[in-house]
Subunit: 366 residues, 2 copies
């Protein structure tokens, strides 16, 4: 992750994973979430915190969820159900529960179907925020499958040559198992930067770099300097991956459209036919490696490819080349040992909510 989004070292408060986990579970349960669901949702959040996906960890998301439970836009105890099913597909109605807890269930169904038939796709409608897409994709990779996860909806991406946002940031995650090398995990928005990173930049007092957002009239800001306040104002104006037509923004725009189609149109979720701002859908898929060949041979081949990426001769000014998943692997080792860095503002929020919910304070105890 670019330094732009890191909590500055001099103010970061480091908290240990077990304490953050138990506190987060307790907060979910105080919101009316059943214990097993609270544990599952917490696991998705803590995955992001441990791996350095700070945009999707407790610091950035938990307060939004608590607010959603408070104002009843999120159902704390959803009764989700399968509304259509074939041997390799299922459409789930999430009963307004968080995608955080429903998507792992969807991926379990997906894995079971792929194990039996080779491939599978499960889509979810009427469900809230997904959490880190990578978490759900990794579930399949741990079962020796290629795992996919996407989430679509919302309007914050300005199409190429457009002057208003029409798509969400629409991340794609793909996880692939390897043998000795850390697993390949890709998880990224189809905008230049993830939407939540604009919030992190604001919290860290940073301006936006060239190519991240459009100006008010839709023209790409290729000089940089737009402030997070502008970019995250009443209308979010993020540029697709590629930033300008000459640099390939039509590709980022189109891939975001594909995510909307797979998540929203395939799940027949409300609002996708009108590009309604509050539309949301999720997609998971699994391809069983054993359906294609020997798993051990596949993993050995993956090791070779991934080592090949890591051994790429670096360009001047860079120490090494990495592949998707390496930073996450290294960050998890470091954060399990030294703790997860939180912004003091986030610690203050936790103190307040723990007092309000009568949850014992243990985050910053030694």
């Amino acid at each position: 992750m670019l330094k732009h989004f890191h909590v500055p070292d001099e103010i970061a408060v480091h908290v240990m994973e077990p304490a953050l986990r138990s506190t987060t579970e307790a907060i979910f349960m105080k919101c009316g979430v059943p214990k097993d669901q609270a544990q599952l949702g917490t696991d998705v959040l803590i995955y992001a915190d441990l791996l350095g996906v700070d945009t999707h960890g407790v610091s950035n998301m938990l307060r939004a969820y608590v607010q959603g439970y408070n104002n009843k836009t999120i159902n704390p105890s959803p009764v989700w159900k399968i509304v259509r099913e074939t041997p390799t597909t299922a459409v789930i109605d999430g009963d307004r529960g968080l995608g955080l807890m429903i998507t792992p269930k969807a991926m379990e169904i997906c894995i079971e179907k792929a194990r039996k038939y080779g491939t599978s796709v499960v889509v979810i409608r009427n469900s809230g925020h997904l959490g880190a897409a990578g978490y759900h994709a990794v579930m399949a990779a741990k079962q020796d499958m290629v795992g996919w996860c996407m989430t679509g909806g919302g309007n914050s991406l300005v199409p190429t040559f457009g002057a208003e946002p029409k798509l969400g940031t629409n991340p794609i995650a793909v996880a692939v198992p390897a043998g000795k090398q850390p697993m390949f995990i890709f998880d990224a928005a189809m905008t230049t930067i993830a939407g939540n990173k604009i919030g992190l930049a604001r919290r860290n007092g940073k301006k936006l770099l060239p190519g991240w957002v459009a100006k008010d009239d839709g023209t790409p800001d290729m000089e940089g300097g737009s402030t997070p306040e502008f970019a995250a104002g009443s209308v979010r104006m993020q540029l697709p991956l590629g930033s300008t037509r000459e640099l390939g923004s039509h590709k980022g725009y189109s891939m975001a459209a594909i995510v909307d189609i797979l998540c929203g149109q395939l799940s027949f979720a409300p609002g996708f036919a009108t590009l309604a701002n509050n539309r949301r859908g999720h997609f998971v898929a699994a391809y069983d490696i054993a359906a294609f060949g020997e798993v051990d041979e596949f993993k050995a081949n993956m090791d070779g490819m991934l080592e090949g990426f890591s051994k790429t001769k670096p360009a001047p000014g860079h120490d090494r080349v990495i592949y998707a998943g390496i930073s996450e692997y290294e960050t998890e080792i470091e954060r399990r040992k030294n703790g997860i860095p939180l912004h003091p503002e986030v610690v203050d929020w936790f103190k307040g909510i723990c007092a309000e919910f009568s949850i014992p304070w243990n985050l910053t105890k030694k």
Copy 2:
């Protein structure tokens, strides 16, 4: 497509589709390709010419195929076979035939499996050039399915922070049916520009724009001006979609890696474990829309979404916003009427090869 890659109007020679088709079929057959295969391969090429995908039409590719048949690197009459199969997957060994002819067969298998089970994936190893990935994806969309196609291999993409190429341009194609609106067809390389476009730029005497290639030491050329000769020299140094780390090049790099994994690792194709330069694999997938809901409802919803994209308010200096598939739709109508514009150099090549193969000349007859 950027004007950069168009045959300049003042020199373009327009040829009609039926004549180009019959001549191309005859050339394939003179190379030893059976008639039905020649017709199929020609259909894939002409699709690209008609839709304006000039990088993958006869003008850019046919001479490379003829050369491959001549020097025996491509098998004109392959006996391809399924080497592993499950209800929803198949691995095909292509017996060194062109992907152009084998991939439509793979997609037929894919469609049949998806119709029966909901989803499917078929991969191909030991097969030559794919042609336009969009062609194969569209086959599924015409059967009311979401169609995917990718092709991986070769080294022309420089990983983020790297100084040498480690991946191919690795295109992804996705096609989705609509009702009244032109079909959504995305087909694009995971580099800033398609590899073949460097050849087109050279033919048209154009320099390369910022963000398209890396300099010799791996540093992204963000000033532009690199010549096609440099960029297409002994080592191709293309930048991933995103161009620089700050603009998201790690996303283009990672998506190219995903394409290599799906095409090459899932098909257990030779060379992928070592990132060998001559490795190649193809991937097709189909998701049957009827497995998820009513097809008519899906298409009506797609119409709404696609109209929503087209109605986006344009930014200053632009007339309209389009979605992936609109240019192709409009270009096909125009080219069926007015002909396919070829560079005089290409017409000369056709004249030479027709004389050599004793094929009657009919391309520029009125």
